[in-house]
């Protein structure tokens, strides 16, 4: 049996480690934080690099807790994001719904990998969302964005290990129980 010698918070959970059930209020709080991170003012390089934090949080909970967070919750959060970003109604909603569905589809597969190997798969999922939004907007008459449009999904995937570890924090067993 594996013994946790390091502090639990900032190391990823090993695949065989059993996590405690999550408190739904923790999920809601992380959604709020993700939303705030998304609407935080930014411009220039930061804006070009800034990933969609709310999408990352949704993806995490869809993979970890599909009983609480599924297509419907993701869709409603997308509507909130549409208002927050002043984009078209339904644009983020559609992207997040597809993200939640693909997470539900891939979750058993994704969970088998260590976090740093999950990142490329997350990149693909985020990229699918970005392409979907691009299609919807271009069909609606918007111009093609610059190539930097492809950067935020990649940054998001690079942040995935960090986001996962932070979100797992509330679910990590206390050290005493882990050392039983």
């Amino acid at each position: 049996m594996r013994v946790l010698s390091k502090p639990a918070a900032f190391t990823p959970a090993a695949p065989e480690e059993i996590l405690r059930p999550v408190n739904p209020w923790v999920i809601a709080l992380t959604f709020l934080l993700g939303f705030l991170a998304n609407i935080a003012p930014a411009s220039g390089v930061v804006l070009a690099l800034k990933p969609d934090f709310l999408a990352l949080v949704i993806l995490y909970w869809c993979i970890q807790e599909p009983r609480y967070v599924g297509v419907g919750v993701a869709w409603m959060l997308g509507l909130v994001m549409d208002v927050g970003d002043a984009t078209l109604f339904g644009q983020h909603a559609l992207a997040y719904a597809v993200l939640a569905y693909s997470a539900e589809y891939f979750r058993r597969r994704v969970l088998r990998f260590p976090l740093w190997q999950q990142a490329p798969q997350v990149a693909v999922l985020l990229m699918i969302c970005a392409v979907l939004v691009l299609l919807v907007r271009v069909v609606g008459g918007a111009p093609l964005p610059r190539w930097t449009y492809a950067v935020p999904p990649i940054v998001g995937a690079l942040l995935w290990p960090l986001v996962s570890v932070l979100l797992q924090w509330s679910q990590r067993p206390a050290r005493s129980s882990a050392q039983l």
Partner: protein, 307 residues
């Protein structure tokens, strides 16, 4: 399985399958998208939701503002006195024009009275500060810190100290959305300062230079010409600086010349902006001819906006 809480086995199905839910919400999204792009049915809902979310918008600005305030507090005396000296120089450089301005206004009013032109309504102006640029990579938008609380209305022109920046497109209680002149298909009627040729300045989206469309290859426009608003649309008051012509490509094979421009104002940089109140009411449009035949012959394609 990594969880203490065990999921129900697949034969205890609860609710719809994920695919069915995805189909349902996907179709709902597409309906919303269609309703929003084509008909703008949802502006009321959006306005209410924006008001609900505005405390969050305020909250996320506090860290940045605090940092800026702290930075300002520790600004060096040298930097401040330099800036002050530069401003005094600038003021002095503009002094002759400013001193002559009152006299010019008087003269202009008298002349206009003689010729019988109604004078330009000066209008009220509201100073605003840019909060943040829009996060939507497909549009060119800016959010400013005053809204209907300061009497700002949708459709009003926004300028900085050099020229036109954009137009107010949505107004919220303490915030307003400005569509920049570089937004795709955003049109500003302009006049070339040198030759007086009228044209329409169209934005082309991020990273693409705005252009003057539908100008004949023979039009009297040269590289370096300055473009000012013509005031023809009643949105932008006449005489505001807009852009400078950067390149003119007169390909004789094409029906129109390709004329690209560079905005003069700090469209995506300016921090302090001025929202110009709506100028005097335009005279009403003439009645469309009642006879449908004459509309077909004479009015084809008129009164339509591209985009």
């Amino acid at each position: 399985m990594r969880h203490v809480s065990v999921e129900p086995p697949p034969f205890f199905h609860r609710g719809l399958s994920p695919l069915a839910r995805l189909a349902f919400f996907g179709v709902l999204s597409l309906v919303l998208l269609f309703a929003d792009t084509r008909f703008r049915y949802l502006e009321g809902i959006r306005a209410v939701a924006t008001i609900v979310l505005s405390p969050l918008h305020r909250a996320v600005q506090i860290p940045g503002e605090t940092l800026a305030w702290i930075g300002g507090y520790f600004a060096s005396k040298q930097a401040l006195s330099d800036a002050n000296a530069a401003m005094k120089q600038d003021l002095l450089a503009r002094a002759p024009a400013a001193q002559g301005y009152g006299q010019l206004l008087d003269e202009n009013a008298k002349l206009k009275g003689l010729v019988g032109i109604s004078s330009r309504y000066p209008g009220a102006a509201t100073a605003v500060e840019a909060l943040y640029t829009g996060r939507d990579p497909f549009t060119q938008k800016l959010f400013v810190n005053r809204g209907s609380d300061a009497g700002i209305k949708a459709g009003e022109a926004v300028i900085d100290e050099i020229g036109v920046v954009g137009q107010v497109t949505r107004v919220f209680p303490n915030m307003a959305e400005v569509t920049l002149i570089t937004d795709k298909d955003h049109a500003v009627p302009v006049r070339v300062e040198r030759s007086g040729v009228r044209s329409v300045f169209f934005g082309a989206g991020a990273g693409r230079p705005p252009e003057l469309r539908f100008m004949a290859p023979s039009a009297d426009i040269r590289v370096g010409d300055k473009l000012f608003t013509s005031g023809m649309d009643g949105t932008y008051p006449a005489g505001l600086a807009v852009a400078q012509v950067e390149a003119v490509d007169r390909d004789t094979g094409q029906m129109f010349a390709r004329i690209t421009c560079k905005p003069l104002s700090g469209v995506d940089r300016s921090q302090f902006l001025l929202v110009l109140g709506q100028s005097a009411a335009q005279p009403p449009r003439p009645e469309e001819p009642a006879d449908p035949d004459s509309v077909k012959k004479g009015g084809r394609g008129k009164g339509r906006r591209g985009g």
